[in-house]
């Protein structure tokens, strides 16, 4: 029932939040030798989550290693410019989903109150 109420946005918010943690990990490990950056393919994860309804499993299945534009000597594949861009994009996406949810809640509240 909650899936019908919020549509795809519930799964989307969960995936955005998991991706936020993953990108934060990449930024935190920007100076760790041999750290391999990972990211969630958001579009693919959302398709899977919409089908199965399990956001956690979808995020795990759509996680892949980042391919660096230039390799570094210490084996670290974090490129701060890429990570920061993706982080900002993801934060805006989270906000967007949040505002969709907000208006949905407002609509339902209006229907309940009958104003």
């Amino acid at each position: 029932m909650p899936d019908q109420l919020f549509g795809i946005h519930g799964a989307s918010l969960a995936l955005r939040s998991q991706r936020l943690a993953m990108l934060a990990s990449n930024i935190a490990n920007a100076a760790t030798p041999n750290y391999k950056a990972r990211d969630i393919d958001f579009g693919r994860a959302l398709d899977m989550a919409a089908g199965s309804g399990d956001a956690g499993a979808a995020a795990a299945a759509a996680t892949a290693y980042r391919v660096p534009t230039q390799s570094s000597l210490d084996g670290n594949t974090v490129e701060l410019s890429t990570e920061q861009t993706e982080f900002a994009e993801n934060a805006v996406g989270y906000r967007t989903t949040l505002s969709f949810l907000q208006s949905r809640v407002a609509t339902v509240m209006q229907a309940i109150k009958g104003e």
């Binding site: 918010l13 936020l20 943690a21 993953m22 934060a24 990990s25 930024i27 935190a28 490990n29 920007a30 100076a31 760790t32 030798p33 750290y35 990972r38 990211d39 969630i40 795990a60 996680t63 701060l80 920061q84 982080f87 934060a91 989270y94 906000r95 949040l98 949810l101 907000q102 809640v105 509240m109």
Partner: protein, 132 residues
Amino acid sequence: MPMSVYDIAGRAMSAQLVRLNTTASNIANAGTLSGSKEGAFRALKPVFEAVGERPGVATVRVNAVVASSTEPTRRHDPDNPLADRNGDVWEAGVDGAAEMVEMLETARQYQNNVQVMQTAKTLTLDTLGLGK
């Protein structure tokens, strides 16, 4: 409890702070003299290590602080009170330029983690305000 964005960014900030402390002691000790090669100061370097619980979600910690392999430089200075029998003193093995670069990089990466935490905080507060 699973690792949150606050854990990740917070622990990364303290690791960067350890790095900044080692850089500060290296710069403070640059140019100090010693009467022997063994007694001369060598630059300290933190060794970062990823700490993760599930794939892709990991923070960082300082595994160890080791003395670098930069050799102290020998200088002939017979008038120095620290000079050994040959009239040599040993200058700390610190690469000043490299330490300055390290300091800038540390500051930048610390700022990045602050930014991450700030964004996560705003998003969490927005989520808490949902439905109001």
